[in-house]
């Protein structure tokens, strides 16, 4: 049972890592659009990255709600 729990935890962690990579990919493309001249995120880019994560999760939530509606 302990081993099983370990496997579940690890695969959950790996799914979270995967999502973080994928979100960074998507949001970098959306938010970092101007010429790259500094290594810092500027005052437009940082909130854009944060909003991008939150709006993606909101949108994901919309999908889940709709899928539930369909099932019932």
């Amino acid at each position: 049972a302990e081993l099983q729990q370990f496997v579940v935890n690890e695969s959950q962690k790996s799914r979270i890592q995967q999502s973080i990579h994928s979100l960074t990919d998507i949001c970098f493309r959306k938010c970092i659009t101007s010429k790259i001249s500094s290594g810092k995120l500027d005052r437009y880019e940082e909130p854009c990255m944060q909003n991008c994560v939150d709006r993606f999760m909101d949108a994901n939530y919309v999908v889940l709600k709709e899928l539930e509606k369909m099932r019932s």
């Binding site: 909003n51 909101d58 919309v62």
Partner: protein
């Protein structure tokens, strides 16, 4: 159990792709909340993507069945 695993995997893939496409299309500049227009677009896009997936499934499966019957070389992809 393996089959169930595969079905979950399949559904997850569909939701993942759908999210990517529809977020890309419907939320060009993510703001401090999802606007009504973005949400409407997203719901429509989601339905469209799932319909498109169904159309592709039907077309693809009927095509590979036809090819299998006529003895054409099997498609690798």
């Amino acid at each position: 159990q393996i089959q169930q695993e595969a079905a979950v995997q399949n559904a997850r893939m569909l939701v993942e792709k759908l999210n990517e496409h529809c977020f890309e299309r419907c939320v060009p500049k993510p703001g401090s909340s999802l606007s009504k227009g973005e949400e409407t677009c997203f719901t429509a896009c989601m339905e469209k993507y799932m319909t498109a997936w169904n159309v592709v499934s039907r077309q693809y499966v009927s095509r590979i069945q036809k090819e299998a019957q006529s003895g054409q070389p099997n498609a690798m992809f």
